[in-house]
Amino acid sequence: MKDTLGTTGLIFNESLLWEKGKKGRRGFSLPRRDVPEHAVAKKLEGPGPDFPDLSEVDVVRHYIRLSQWNFSVDSGMYPLGSCTMKYNPKTNEVQAARPGFAHAHPLLPQHLSQGALQLIYELEQYLTEITGMDATSLQPAAGAHGELTGMLLFYAYHKSKSAPRSKIIVPDTAHGTNPASAALCGYRSVPIKSNERGVLSPQAVEEIMDTDTAGIMVTNPNTLGLFEENIKAVADIVHAKGGLVYGDGANMNAVMGIVNMGDLGIDVLHLNLHKTFSSPHGGGGPGSGPVCVGKHLEPFLPVPRVIKQKNRYVLSEDFPESLGKIHAFYGNVGVMIRAYSYILSMGPENLKKASQLAVLNAAYIKERLKGTFHLPYDRPCMHECVFSDKLQEPYKVTTLDMVKRLMDYGFHPPTIYFPLVVPGAIMIEPTETESKEDIDLFIESMKTIAREAKENPELLHAAPCKTKRKRLDETLAARKPCLTG
């Protein structure tokens, strides 16, 4: 490859905040004082924090320089599997920044906060429709928070039947948040292996499902990027024993307008608005993890719920079987505004098209890289595909080496070493917002790296070489934790 995206450029060094402060500087304009000073109770008074004092210019340069050390969706392709790093539309930011929303106090009288309540109400309706479920709560603040809410719904449901259960079935391909969320509700995870086709087999579920098992957690499409083709049979088995089916909707981007989750037998599904519905990930949040449920679980959803009475939107606590509150207020409204703005910008046809193109992009990558990299499950994929480093083993080159090298070519690495069922996994999710040209360049870069693995493995062991920092010593960080400066 002659021209790669990745290059070296002028990047600034920048010290830590407190290495550059100087007493007597300030970066803040206080309002003119219009009230007198008042005495403070000496017993309670403290010294206040000893933060560095900086000028506004210091602060601006500091964080601009730091920002330039980050890879981001706005700078390039970010094919992190299961993370759906699609483009984050800028109009969404404008909508969320409107003073009426951004400055709104959560405890305003309801008749003075109709716009926000309407937005929550309508977004719940849209998500209910898109997933093919019956009702939605936007209160959970992130995907794992939605999972926890889902498990609390399971718990509340079984409790209402006066038959609490103690176990939950979790496939070996599940995200780590699944068993951790279940554990918070006191459920013991019973692992289940996917079959040789990479999906759940009804027989395996039949063998372990019993009347002490609250249900099963299924990610569909799963983390191998495969559609769980036996999902209806699995759901029937679980339902027959009085259990419930939880759907991890992290991968909803593959099936908008294509599959109704409700029709598959799923009872609770969480979504990640920061994946499928284009709100930015923020370097690790805030996200939003709504839960969508079937009719039979609606009474247990978190309160307050926004309901419509005549032409007014009202917060209602009148759901006696509700699991309670999961967020101090109503959830991450700022993220909801972005998702709402995205859905309205896309409309029904484009949402479906987004899923189609997300799958097309993944299928195209799978087809063109198969042979170059080992493809453990050569089957039609959905929005992501999973390779491994098996073909590079003879050259003593690992997945980690290859994805670090990918940085030098100007791409963010895919998700690696996950799902755990594929040793050395390379999980690629391009999303629909990458153009054919960018995808072709990604494929070329991956092929170049495979060639380098054969011809010059040292290059890969030393990668990345163009980034601000070279490979970091994670063992040292964990052995001698230095968590504050």
């Binding site: 803040f28 890879f71 959560p106 926000a116 937005l119 949040g285 029904p348």
Partner: protein, 443 residues
């Protein structure tokens, strides 16, 4: 659609490569009875112009300053965010990045969060802070679960003067567990009644909020010395961390865990979220902490750098044995907070805290002069409770018509506090507005 770059030719070429004849064909392997038959029934796509009009109309229905004079606090506060701070927190290199799993291309986020952890620990007087939780409520719930893990006991006590909504979330988290929550009443001065603590068995932790929901500072040292058992942890919660620019921090008052809401630090209220769950503890408890941690290390060339660390506590490694299920947290809000703290500096932080205090004290004085009584005598920070005479509810409604939101009626949260209202003044509250409100009430 401007977010979808594929031309019809691109689609045709790519389909040919994958040997499928149509976009629909990509889904042919999905069993027919799993396929959706009908089109999505949501509104047709809007142009950006139409979207702007629609959103503008909705946003305009919201009662916000300066059109309304809003004296609400209670867990969400109006503070001024410097232009430079909101500008920096909106940098798309920060906004559109993922969790920093690949440190070589995420040093910006990592160093910023390391700085956030450092300043947070300092503000709260603690030894270690994590990279954030969702909000004050989930931070409290995780803190109490951590107190149970550390102490290996089964009961926690929580003050009734802790934010009522945080207590409800805590109850939700505890519902499916075998652990118990005991509520501690409050005294007539507005602080927590710790009398019952001495006789409690199996107490893993005690949670109080300071400043509490009534705005009152708790006597933390006295609570710490009343803990019945050395193993019980003192958890100090907060919804207004700016108070520690004036008052002693939780750590300086004996807290084992300090947690709460950091929305005050440069984050807009946005109808209650996203906020910032702040979480800090003593270093000896670090391996029991929930959430992400950024640590300092070196790269291959010996240069200082930062990585996510101690992840053996976390769900992606430990799965069901993790200290928490948290994955995505509120990183961008933590970034906004550290930029805000850096902009203020130690000097500015103290000045801003003092101004908030003085505004509220002025407000109190003006109301007292007009003949109204404060409900509680304990010192407060920027909010406080006033006992209005019977029938004030009607006045409150009339004031809404005049675009005054005269605080938060407490009766919805505390049935015994009929006619008591929580009022808040920050640096954004002008003396003229407080005077105008007092004048309106008296009329």
């Amino acid at each position: 659609m401007r977010y979808l770059p594929h031309t019809p030719e691109d689609i045709a070429t790519m389909l040919k490569e994958v040997k499928i004849d149509s976009l629909e064909g990509l889904f042919a392997h999905i069993p027919q009875d799993c396929r959706r038959k009908e089109a999505l029934d949501i509104p047709a796509a809007l142009t950006e112009w139409e979207l702007n009009d629609h959103m503008d109309e909705m946003a305009h229905t919201m009662a916000t300053a300066p059109e309304y004079r809003v004296f609400l606090g209670g867990g969400s506060y109006r503070h001024y965010v410097p232009a430079a701070a909101s500008f920096l927190a909106a940098r798309s290199e920060f906004v559109t990045a993922y969790t920093p799993y690949q440190p070589e291309v995420s040093q910006g986020t990592l160093q910023a969060i390391y700085e956030y952890q450092t300043l947070t620990a300092q503000l709260l007087g603690m030894e270690v802070a994590n990279a954030s939780q969702y909000d004050g409520a989930s931070a409290l719930a995780e803190a109490m679960l951590m107190a149970i893990r550390v102490s290996r006991k089964k009961t926690v006590a929580v003050s009734r003067a802790v934010h009522p909504m945080y207590r409800r979330v805590l109850a939700t988290y505890f519902e499916p567990t075998e652990f118990n929550i005991i509520e501690l009443p409050y005294l007539s001065d507005g602080t927590t009644d710790i009398g019952a603590l001495r006789d409690m068995d199996d107490l893993g932790g005690v949670a109080v909020q300071s400043p509490n929901f009534f705005g009152c500072m708790e006597n933390l040292e006295a609570i710490k010395s009343s803990l019945p058992d050395k193993k019980s942890l003192l958890v100090v919660c907060f919804s207004e961390p700016l108070a520690y620019g004036l008052y002693k921090s939780p750590g300086h008052s004996g807290a084992d865990i300090a947690c709460g809401e950091g929305q005050s630090l440069g984050i807009g209220p946005t109808f209650g979220g996203p906020g910032l769950g702040m979480f800090a503890a003593k270093m000896k408890y670090v391996r029991n902490m929930p959430g992400r941690l950024v640590g300092q290390t070196v790269d291959k060339e010996g240069n200082r750098g930062y990585v996510l660390t101690l992840s053996t506590r976390e769900q992606h490694i430990r799965r069901e044995k993790a200290t928490s299920n948290i994955c995505t947290n509120h990183s961008l809000c933590a970034l906004a907070a550290v930029i805000f703290m850096a902009s203020l500096g130690g000097t500015g932080f103290k000045e801003l805290a003092r101004l908030n205090y003085d505004k509220a004290e002025y407000f109190k004085g003006a109301l007292q002069q007009a003949g109204f009584k404060l409900s509680f005598s304990q010192p407060t920070f920027n909010e406080f409770v006033v006992a209005f005479p019977d029938g004030f509810e009607k006045t409150y409604q009339e004031l809404l018509h005049k675009k005054f939101i005269a605080g938060l009626p407490l009766v919805d949260f505390y049935p015994e506090l009929k006619n008591h209202y929580l009022l808040c003044a920050t640096e954004t509250t002008a003396r003229d507005d407080m005077d105008a409100l007092v004048k309106e009430i008296v009329q």
